[in-house]
């Protein structure tokens, strides 16, 4: 399969009065056509920032992409003019945001917000755009789409709004959709519906998907590949199967153990990750996870581990990954 998106050593920093925040500190990953990639991690680990960096939507000031390359279909997005970048946004790469309640403009109709994108990118006239909008709303499971087009966001529930956002993202047949915690703000039952919908539609339309989440349960359902991020870096990457069943980084393991599971006895205690995420302005050259890590050794303080491939398609950044494997086997 062809590589659709190549992120290479991406570094995004925020220049604040408290110091330079290294929100994304050199991450590298690929997305292939039609593939679903999950980016997992705690709040503040740089997941959303890495996604916004791809579309060059980091507010500047205070933020800036300071290093690395983002290639989309072989083209470096950083070298595009603002004009050309606009033809990528929404047309080639679309985005679904976390907050459906505030991500739609409250004073414009749903219809206008969908059709303006269509008119901008596909040069449709008003009737064509309207017809396409109706079709899209139907596709994302919104009943009575004709009437909905004339309504405003406050007429719709959170789940409906997120469906509208998905319709918006799909509107111009993009190659890639980036979904930034698409279900975080929704009820659990709605979460499942939205996820099913995204899964079905991206498969049906052969769209690649980057889904950003802190919910490991979500990832299990449909990612082809999982990148686990910690303190602005990818610390483990592999197929969903690998990461779920054979985690090789203590952080991944800790995350998995902190999620309730159906296949465990009901009395089994949850084991939350101890401690706090590190201050991203004060990172040293050691491993950022070591203060919270049960496997830490002296080497972790002096030398930060680098990502190494431990088997095909499974990479991990930990000096102790062998030991972790043993620990897992004996457990």
């Amino acid at each position: 399969m062809a590589k659709l998106l190549e992120v290479e050593d991406l570094q995004t920093q925020f220049f604040t009065s408290a110091g330079v925040v290294k929100a994304v500190d050199g991450i590298t990953y690929d997305v292939e056509e039609g593939e679903t990639v999950a980016v997992v991690g705690e709040s503040g680990c740089g997941k959303s920032v890495s996604a916004l960096s791809i579309l060059r939507l980091i507010p500047d000031p205070p933020g800036r992409v300071v290093g690395g390359h983002i290639k989309f279909m072989g083209q470096d997005l950083a070298t595009l003019s603002d004009e050309d970048m606009r033809t990528v946004r929404g047309r080639q790469i679309a985005m679904v945001f976390q907050e459906p309640m505030t991500s739609l403009n409250p004073v414009l109709t749903i219809g206008l917000q969908i059709t303006e994108t269509l008119q901008q990118h596909l040069n449709l006239n008003k009737e064509e755009a309207n017809a396409r909008a109706v079709e899209l709303l139907g596709k994302v499971g919104i009943s009575d789409p004709d009437r909905r087009l004339k309504q405003y966001p406050h007429h719709l529930s959170g789940g409906m709004r997120q469906r509208v956002m998905i319709a918006l993202a799909l509107s111009c047949n993009p190659k890639l959709i980036i979904a930034d915690e698409p279900t975080t703000a929704l009820d659990v039952t709605i979460q499942a519906q939205i996820l099913e919908l995204m899964k079905d539609l991206t498969r049906e339309l052969d769209v690649a998907l980057i889904v950003i989440t802190h919910n490991l349960g979500v990832v299990a359902r449909y990612a082809d590949r999982v990148n686990v991020m910690y303190a602005g870096r990818i610390i483990e990457s592999g197929t969903a199967e690998d990461v779920y069943h054979y985690p090789r980084h203590p952080y991944t393991l800790a995350l998995l153990r902190s999620v309730p599971r159906m296949d465990q006895p009901r009395k089994a205690k949850l084991d939350p990750v101890q401690g706090q995420p590190p201050d991203l302005t004060k990172l040293d050259k050691g491993c950022a996870f070591r203060p919270r890590c049960n496997f830490a050794i002296d080497k972790c303080t002096s030398n930060g581990p680098v990502l190494e491939t431990i088997e095909k398609g499974h990479t991990v950044a930990c000096w102790q990954h062998e030991k972790l494997l043993n620990a897992l086997e004996t457990a």
């Binding site: 985005m95 505030t102 004073v107 303006e116």
Partner: protein, 323 residues
């Protein structure tokens, strides 16, 4: 929508009643009255008999509730009686000046809108560039500069520059001409006070536009609009501006109503015979009937402007429209 408008209209009634009660009784708390001022104003001896006669004639010796009833009834029937000072019909006194004040207020508002919205928008979009600094300095200057002073400068500037250009100084006409009679003469008189007051007015509105827009530009839906790949012009005009105009409309409404009765000094500078000047005179003369009528006119303008502002809200924001 219809219900919303109707509700707003109904709400005007209690406001007007409250204002009427307040002004009527507050005026009568001020010591002295129009008869004393008329007969003994210059410090001469006045015959108490004559003062009593004057009061009887003007109805000031009637029971207070009767006076109040006369006032309310007069207001409701648009017959507010005669001025206690000049003896002329109040509708005549006010009618003479209302058109002028209204025209200055409307023109100043237009000047303000045409300056404030584009400048405020540019300033917010180009935040922290030289354009932004320039606009901010321009609007700070407008707030800091009293409009009567600006008026004096405008008049002096006109005199000096026309003197230099044509050899003899040109002054805006002093006599008010209705715009329907002679538009050119009318505008050449009123454009200057409109600019002088409109500038200060625009300064407030510019800053309001800028700060409201800056806030809106940080909203999630603006990020969505960017992520959709819309052109910047569309993002600003369609997505941001409409959301940020609510506070601006409020400021414009309040300022407009203020201009209708509060342009005392500017009217003096430009020698305009407007409501502000009449207001001051009527209060100084303790001319109850005229002051009451003027207050009611200004309050009505205020209430009506607020009504228009509310309609604008509903037009701008569907959440208000459907609430």
């Amino acid at each position: 929508m219809f219900q919303y408008i109707f509700k707003r209209l109904l709400l005007m009634i209690p406001t007007l009643i409250g204002a009427a009660i307040l002004i009527f009784f507050v005026l009568r708390l001020i010591p002295g009255d129009v008869c004393e001022l008329r007969l003994a104003g210059s410090g001469l001896y006045a015959d108490p008999e004559q003062i009593k006669l004057c009061r009887d004639n003007l109805g000031l010796n009637d029971p207070i509730l009767v006076q109040f009833w006369d006032f309310i009834f007069g207001f409701l029937t648009f017959d507010m009686g005669e001025s206690m000072w000049t003896g002329r019909a109040i509708t005549y006194e006010i009618g003479l000046r209302f058109q002028l004040s209204l025209q200055v207020a409307v023109m100043a508002t237009l000047v303000a809108i045409f300056i404030a919205i584009p400048l405020g928008t540019i300033s917010a979009v180009k935040q922290n560039t030289w354009i932004d600094y320039f606009v901010r300095a321009f609007s700070i200057a407008g707030i800091a500069m009293p409009s009567f002073w600006l008026g004096i400068i405008i008049i002096l500037g006109l005199l000096i520059s026309t003197q230099a250009m044509f050899g003899e100084p040109w002054m805006p006409p002093i006599q008010y001409v209705s715009p329907f009679e002679d538009l050119w003469a009318n505008l050449s008189q009123l454009i200057w006070p409109a600019v002088a007051t409109g500038y200060r007015y625009s300064a407030v509105a510019t800053r309001m536009t800028r700060s409201a827009l800056l806030e809106v530009l940080r909203e999630d839906y603006i990020r969505t609009a960017r992520a959709k790949g819309l052109v910047e012009k569309l993002i600003i005009n369609r997505h941001a501006l409409k959301n940020s105009l609510l506070p601006v409309v409020t400021v414009i409404g309040i300022e407009f109503a203020f201009l209708m009765g509060g342009l005392v000094v500017t009217e003096q500078v430009f020698n305009l015979n407007g409501l502000g000047k009449l207001f001051v005179e009527s209060v100084l003369n303790q001319d109850f009937t005229l002051t009451q009528a003027l207050v009611m006119v200004v309050v009505t303008v205020f209430v009506f402007t607020n009504f228009l502002v509310d309609i604008c809200y509903a037009w701008l924001d569907p959440r208000i429209r459907y609430a």
